[in-house]
């Protein structure tokens, strides 16, 4: 036994900002201000909750979490009671068992018990807690329950079943506290209380898809997931939302080789467990059967399906021929913001070191004067700023979940969020920010040059940190890894800048350039279809990886089927430089090896040595060895390149 038992006096506790609490006999010390609920979780003791939510303020309405606390006259809600020093909490006594049985009995009185046809069956807190803590029998002698409306469409995305609702208030608080939009309200009172939208209006929010996830039961459901699957029939793959550069963590849930939904996967540093509707409901884009499935080799008069090996051999031979005949600088190399870091890392080396061309890019726009400082501000660090300046609507349109972080900074930290037009002058911005000390400046990458000028002016007001919203799931990685004409990996200055993406395509179209190696799919290029088509038709050699049939697959001289984001492993880097893993969750559309393997083989045929197996994990190790910033970031950390950040 400890000294306490021997001497009878408790040992002196230093004031370390913690309090000692005992839960079911387990002693632990938790930071002051910790809720009993969270202390219990830390002690490994489960307390059932309905209304409490990790991202919302307590309301203590469901009374499911009531626990016995010594010296309190009646049971207290664990979700709203702050742990006090010396507090003795009990959850494993008959009193608490009876409370839970009682609450579940109440909740089930008017519950329709739709479980067999309810989308939440199998992942429903009402089912689960009833199994675990419920009374087992019903004592209610009345067979007719109170009825409400079922399957009410609240929007194109969300359906509400008012009968299944247990009135936990989470959806109402979600709109109050997380988005600030207040779209769902409570109406009526007593046993007739129901949630609905005011005046039956349709939901307008860009973040509706989070509702079914905050709802603990099957009251709010996704219309796109209605009657689609049971959770145990889903295969869950931890990944990153492919829709934008913000990098929200997701679970891609698939069944029968199709993605059925994206579910949020809480990363407090990035998404804070929220997804936007554009991202969440984009999942079915990945189920298309229109895919490039076989390698093809084309010459002027024929087009042949070939083996991968032959395709790679042809690619190496043709690129070499062009280089020999017209010089390596007649070859352009285009990566994509949709590629993984591992692919881009290999492609950059292949371009500059093996082929020897300076013409490397991943998009069309010129990227003059790019500096690491323009994406120094981290997403979570937004909450550390007292003033946030957002230039134009683009940042929040590009990366919608950013809006929720801004609102959190506003609501929880009292930050000022100032939205200016994208061309607001530097002087205007400085006036708007007057009084600020820690400024966060957020702009879209298309507006980065102007943002730099604004940042300089703001520097006279307070300290400024910038966040640039890059485009594409891995637009940031492409820049970090040197897929730019004017900087190399890690933003290293280049003696001779190469041609940018547009210049490469124009060069090909006009015949001043001859060959193209491109890693697709590349949405930025596809958006300029006319130029792209002229370029690839005119080029003597186009070695292309692509996933979907289109201009590139139609005219490429060597076409290699690519892997879509859920068919391969690797890492992508979000706006703030956070390196996050994606994983293969769907079978690939073709038998072709993954891009990193093909690139490695191709490089080998072109004379490179020591590139290893090309396995994505092995490439990742190479990348981390080569790039100190990525080495430090590891998996889940931020790759930072500014001197201060590195120090």
């Amino acid at each position: 036994m400890t000294a306490v038992a021997e001497t009878g006096t408790p040992p002196e506790q230093p004031d370390d900002g913690r309090v000692g609490i005992s839960i079911d006999g387990r002693e632990l010390r938790v930071p002051k201000g910790t809720l009993v609920l969270d202390a219990a979780t830390e002690a490994g003791i489960h307390i059932p909750i309905y209304c409490a939510h990790p991202k919302m303020d307590p309301v203590a309405v469901c009374r499911m979490c009531l626990v016995n606390i010594e010296k309190f006259p009646k049971p207290q809600p664990a979700c709203a009671t702050v742990a006090g020093d010396g507090m003795v909490v009990r959850t494993n006594i008959p009193e608490v068992t009876k409370i839970r049985e009682g609450m579940l009995e109440f909740l089930l009185l008017n519950h329709p018990l739709d479980c067999p046809v309810c989308d939440r069956g199998g992942e429903c807190d009402l089912q689960d807690f009833t199994f675990r803590y419920g009374p087992g029998i019903s004592r209610f002698p009345i067979t007719e329950k109170v009825h409400f409306k079922k399957a009410v469409p609240l929007s194109e995305h969300i359906e509400l079943d008012q009968e299944r609702c247990i009135l936990c208030w989470r959806c109402v608080r979600y709109y109050d506290e997380i988005t600030g939009e207040k779209e769902i309200v409570l109406q009526q009172r007593g046993v007739d209380t129901l949630v609905s939208t005011f005046d039956d209006r349709q939901l307008q929010s860009k973040f509706q898809g989070n509702l079914p996830e905050v709802c603990p039961v099957g009251a709010l459901t996704h219309r796109k997931y209605r009657f689609v699957s049971r959770p145990w029939d889903l295969q869950r793959t931890a990944s990153v939302c492919p829709e934008c550069s913000y990098g929200c963590n997701i679970n891609a849930d698939s069944r029968d080789f199709e993605v059925r939904r994206f579910a949020s996967r809480d990363n407090p540093l990035v998404d804070d467990m929220w997804l936007c509707d554009r991202g969440r409901y984009s999942f079915d884009r990945w189920n298309t059967s229109e895919r490039v499935r076989r390698p093809v080799v084309r010459s002027d008069d024929e087009s042949r399906d070939v083996t991968v090996a032959e395709a790679i051999t042809q690619a190496a031979r043709r690129l070499r021929e062009i280089a020999e005949e017209y010089g390596a600088a007649s070859i352009g190399v285009l990566g994509s913001s949709a590629s993984t870091n591992e692919e881009l890392f290999l492609l950059e080396r292949l371009a500059r070191q093996v082929i020897g061309t300076p013409h490397v890019d991943h998009q069309l726009e010129p990227f003059d004067g790019i500096s690491a400082a323009e994406h120094e501000l981290g997403i979570a660090e937004i909450e550390e700023c007292d003033t946030l300046i957002v230039l134009g609507a683009d940042p929040e349109e590009q990366a919608p979940v950013l809006t929720l972080r801004l609102y959190k900074a506003e609501r929880k930290k009292g930050a000022r969020v100032i939205r200016l037009s994208s061309d607001a002058t530097a002087a205007d911005a400085a006036i708007a920010a007057s009084g600020a000390t820690r400024i966060g400046l957020i702009a879209d990458e298309t507006n980065r040059a102007h943002a730099a000028a604004v940042a300089t002016a703001l520097g006279a007001v307070g300290s400024v940190r910038r966040l640039t919203i890059t485009r594409g799931i891995n637009g940031r990685g492409a820049k970090d890894l040197g897929l730019l004409p004017n900087v190399g990996p890690a933003y290293a200055a280049l003696a001779e800048p190469g041609k940018n993406g547009r210049q490469i395509l124009e060069g090909l179209a006009s015949g001043t350039m001859r060959g193209l190696l491109m890693l697709g799919p590349n949405p930025a290029l596809e958006a300029e279809s006319e130029l792209l088509e002229r370029a690839v038709r005119k080029a003597a050699c186009v070695v292309a990886f692509d996933t979907r049939p289109g201009i590139v697959s139609r005219y490429a001289t060597v076409l290699i089927p690519g892997h879509a984001v859920f068919e391969k492993a690797g890492s992508v880097t979000n706006v703030e430089g956070r390196v996050q893993r994606i994983r293969a969750g769907l079978p690939p559309a073709s038998a072709t090896p993954v891009e990193t393997r093909v690139l490695t083989t191709l490089a080998g045929l072109m004379g490179a040595v020591g590139w290893g197996s090309g396995d994505p994990l092995a490439v990742n190790r190479l990348l981390r060895d080569e790039s100190p910033a990525y080495g430090r970031a590891g998996n889940g950390g931020r790759a930072l390149f500014t001197a201060e950040a590195v120090a």
Partner: protein, 429 residues
């Protein structure tokens, strides 16, 4: 006569509802005295000395409540609770009807003591006429310089706003009142923080009952010591009791605290009607536990009634004669709570519904003994588990009646009809 008239002394005086009439009986002199004789601090101390306890139901010492306000946090707000929706309560309405200015004067005295520059009277939606009366009275008082800037040259500013509720019992609960006043759904707030720290618009706030405030002019004029000596040790002063039920003279009676309940019943209410005898009574209003004839000798004292297992609550007295079916009364009260539950928390929202469905079966003689037993268990799952006292108290009367009249409850099981009513009908016939 057993009545002791302090607040109601001048009731009935000519034109008392008007400013002139109120001034004629010495109205607003107390406000002048307050400014003259007291600083805000000494006035709070005087109210503490008086020992007055809140008349809104919980009986919390008013002076102590006032002293919880954090120093130097302004603005602060004062809300007069005129929501009076407790079954059996109609004293606040009476106090307003007869003398609206007495309430306004009390409100201003409290505002001065608490250094509040904006005070609210939150009045029950159904008290439409009383709201108009108060609005007229505040207009008069404003015109006469009792409300507004630099009142009576004291340098103290105070505005008074009369706000009508929409008719929900729960809005009498102080935090629900505050929510409703802010324009939100009338539902209680999570405590802490308590209103004294963060109340209306996030500022320190005091909520006091109409009757509590009506006492203040008298405490100012006669002194805290005098008031304290009136009534009993733990229950100083008088209270206005709303008497209803099977009595000869229902109405409001102001009694010195400590007077035996029997005196109230026999001398003021004229005893039980139709020569019948008392079966049970409910002090305090619909929330409180049932008492029996043997409790008639209890003094009207908050502690004494509490020790007997009930409470003086909000000052109602509902007397029931021998023909009354306690199951029927319980059913009606439970229906009231089912109707008034705000729906915020599970045990009250679903529990009152469960209770009421069972009580209807029981009163109709359809319930089984097992259902009766489950009723008691359901009540135990509600009491002490709810978010606010409404849900807890929704079980108190029925549980106390079940305990005191167990045979009567059991006789209903499987009887096919209400046995008590059947008997009463037989008696009459």
């Amino acid at each position: 006569m057993a009545e002791y008239k302090l607040l109601t002394k001048d009731f009935g005086a000519d034109g008392l509802q008007t400013l002139k009439g109120y001034e004629k009986v010495g109205g607003y002199q107390a406000l002048r005295d307050a400014f003259k004789k007291f600083t805000p601090e000494t006035l709070v101390a005087e109210v503490k000395t008086s020992n007055i306890r809140g008349r809104g139901g919980a009986g919390f010492p008013t002076g102590m409540k006032w002293s919880f306000l954090p120093k130097d946090v302004f603005p602060r707000y004062l809300c007069c609770n005129a929501d009076e929706s407790e079954p059996g309560c109609f004293k606040d309405r009476y106090l307003i009807d007869e003398s609206p200015h007495q309430l306004i004067e009390g409100l201003l005295i409290a505002s001065y003591a608490l250094q509040v520059n904006t005070s609210f009277i939150y009045i029950r939606g159904e008290y439409h006429d009383q709201r108009l009366l108060l609005e007229r009275a505040t207009e008069e008082a404003r015109a006469a310089g009792y409300i507004g800037k630099n009142i009576l040259g004291s340098g103290f500013d105070c505005d008074v706003i009369v706000h009508g509720g929409a008719g929900a019992y729960i809005c009498g609960e102080e935090t629900a009142l505050i929510e409703s006043l802010e324009g939100l759904r009338g539902q209680p707030r999570l405590k802490p923080p308590f209103p004294a720290i963060k109340g209306l618009y996030g500022q320190p706030t005091v909520v006091n009952n109409v009757e509590t405030l009506c006492n203040l002019p008298h405490i100012v004029q006669r002194g805290g010591e005098w008031f304290k000596a009136l009534g009993t040790d733990k229950s100083a002063g008088t209270r206005v009791f709303c008497c209803s039920g099977h009595i000869n003279r229902p109405g409001n009676y102001e009694m010195k605290l400590g007077t035996p309940i029997r005196e109230l019943l026999e001398e003021e209410c004229g005893g039980i009607w139709r020569g019948q005898s008392l079966k049970a009574f409910q002090p305090g209003g619909g929330s409180m536990q049932v008492l029996l004839p043997q409790h008639l000798d209890l003094p009207l004292d908050m502690n004494a009634v509490q020790e007997a297992g009930s409470s003086l609550g909000a000052g109602a007295m509902i007397f029931m004669d021998e023909t009354t079916c306690l199951v029927d009364v319980s059913m009606r009260l439970v229906d009231f709570y089912r109707h008034e539950s705000c729906g915020k928390c599970v045990p009250c929202r679903e529990g009152t519904y469960f209770e009421s469905e069972l009580m209807h079966r029981l009163e109709a003689g359809q319930a089984t003994l097992a259902e009766l037993a489950s009723l008691a268990d359901i009540c135990s799952n509600m009491d002490g588990r709810c978010f606010c006292p409404l849900g807890d108290t929704a079980t108190w009367f029925v549980m106390s009646a079940y305990k005191s009249f167990r045979d009567e409850f059991e006789a209903h099981c499987g009887a096919g009809r209400c046995p008590v009513r059947a008997q009463a009908t037989a008696l009459v016939a």
